[in-house]
Point group: C2
Chain length 132, copies 2
């Protein structure tokens, strides 16, 4: 018997986690949410709206192309609002929507986890049998 809701209770999560019901779509979304650049963009936009080139500079390592694609994806998903000012030269501002902002919390929780446990993970890596 399979439930459709995801409980936060850690001890019960597993059951519906991989139940295949809506698991596929969840994972598909996780792929977008967990995407490297997506995380970066959300992080960069957290303080407030930003223009394209500003994001480019802010994000460090992102290519023009990937930033475009990521932003478009986020806009499609309603996480980011794109505002184009028809000036010359063009000016386009991106900002998190309400939905987008609601993602900050779980995402930063994860970031916090990483920060908190990085030492442990690095220790584990180092002490792993035949560590590369």
């Amino acid at each position: 018997m399979r439930r459709r809701t995801l409980h936060l209770d850690a001890s019960k999560v597993g059951a519906e986690w991989q139940n295949g019901d809506d698991c596929r779509e969840i994972l598909q979304l996780l792929d977008r949410i967990g995407d490297k650049w997506t995380v970066m963009v959300v992080g960069a936009l957290t303080p407030g709206p930003m223009r394209f080139n500003m994001l480019m500079r802010e994000i460090d390592g992102v290519s023009h192309r990937m930033l475009t694609l990521t932003l478009r994806g986020l806009a499609q998903d309603g996480l980011v609002k794109r505002t184009a000012y028809p000036t010359i030269p063009p000016k386009v501002e991106y900002e998190l929507t309400e939905l987008g902002r609601s993602l900050i919390e779980p995402l930063s929780a994860l970031a916090a986890w990483v920060t908190r446990n990085r030492p442990a993970i690095e220790k584990a890596r180092a002490s792993f049998p035949d560590a590369a």
Copy 2:
């Protein structure tokens, strides 16, 4: 001036999010944590220890190879404990470590977010200008 800690306070996260100090390594870890199969494995292992083939069956869509690689990675990072019983045929059990279990919570928070907001996202996608 840059802090090294990640605050959970949504309004302040952005600043250190992309500050480049330890951002690189955080992202690198996020890549592993956010990885499709990693999420699946953690989910599958949440209820308790499991053997390789069981995981194969449980996870649906994972190839033999990817499961091996994912599990090895998780073991290296100390998130999963691998126990091999030297019997014939071999029997290998995987289970979450303490560290691994601590990941369940933030991960399921994210999963919960996806579940909660999937309708909104799908609506956004559908109503997007020239939706594919």
